[in-house]
Symmetry: C2
Subunit: 198 residues, 2 copies
Amino acid sequence: MAPENLQTLLDFFKVLSDETRLKLLGLLAQRECSVEEMAALLHLKAPTISHHLAKLKSLNLVLLNPEGNTHLYRLNSEQLQLLSRDLLSSEQLKTLAQSVQPEAWETTVLKAFVENDRILSIPAARKKRFVLLKWLVQKIEPDRDYSEKEINAILKQHHEDCATLRRELIGYQLMSRKDGTYRRLPPTEWLQEAGNFN
Amino acid sequence: MAPENLQTLLDFFKVLSDETRLKLLGLLAQRECSVEEMAALLHLKAPTISHHLAKLKSLNLVLLNPEGNTHLYRLNSEQLQLLSRDLLSSEQLKTLAQSVQPEAWETTVLKAFVENDRILSIPAARKKRFVLLKWLVQKIEPDRDYSEKEINAILKQHHEDCATLRRELIGYQLMSRKDGTYRRLPPTEWLQEAGNFN
DNA sequence: CAGTTGATTAGATACTTATCTAATTAGAAT
DNA sequence: ATTCTAATTAGATAAGTATCTAATCAACTG
């Protein structure tokens, strides 16, 4: 569903992103015109007009009424309204990105900061740190309590500075601490985005 | 007023008529992203993303929120709605053609069919015939009655077949006949377009 | 202060496409 | 039938632009 939507939108904008074609639409909104007439009015040659009309036809934006030898074109207003209405509603918009796989970015980050399950360094950038911490928290089992000592032991396997990591896991709300016991939070309770808590 | 409108519309469509930029909008509609992140997600290099962001910025479609070194972009939804709403209403559309001078076409037709005030031949195409007849009717004074003989005399100065011309002037409603007297109609009563009365 | 990271700018390349001329098609008029 | 007219199609050219690499800029890190 998503890619077709993207393609539809793209085709629409591509067709309308040309000065000559916009002028043609304006012209045909006022009256029906022959190809020759449009060419004269826009100071272009007839084949050029045919070229543009073909693009407008591909979206059904013009209607042809042949009269003898001459082709009289007019605007298909209904189709124009149909296409231009709600094209960029926020719901529509979000579908445009459905073709991108979100893991691409996180993979890149992890490749840069992790090697053989060891953290090479802790990213400074907030978003990257969040990616790393989401990877790290998976090393901790869900649905059970940990003492600080246990947490430290696990974190140490991946990086020296377990204190910073522990603090960050809490700060980014990937882990909770209550009465000195730690617990991994389920992904459903994670922040959508890395919150700016610093 | 008209050309600015055309340019605005054109700029808008040009910016949105690119697959990568549409995907960026979709992405930024969901969450804020850094340039690096967008590059990774779309499998492009950072400079390419910068290039596209510059175009989106030119329309104020994205907002920048610098966080340390990284530039976090997000969608400017209000601006997008503003731009996309009513862009192609029929009133707007008609202004798009305001830069074309309507006489260009008629001049071309007259040049092809008239020489030294003589009609070389009567165009077969309805629209061209209308152009010629509008030129011809100006040879007849307004606000006075003519007998058929007088009309014929005038028309004969421009073409042999005055009977056809006389009939056509009536048919296209450029001239009226009542009780055998003829009278030129004011332009305000002309048909907007050459009616299909054959 | 030097080094690093993320973003932008400059410049080169390749792809797309608007426009033209020439050739073809379709239909009407003579 | 032949000619003429209007439109389209084919093919060539030139202008615009998306993308890349390399270089520069800005801001943080150590």
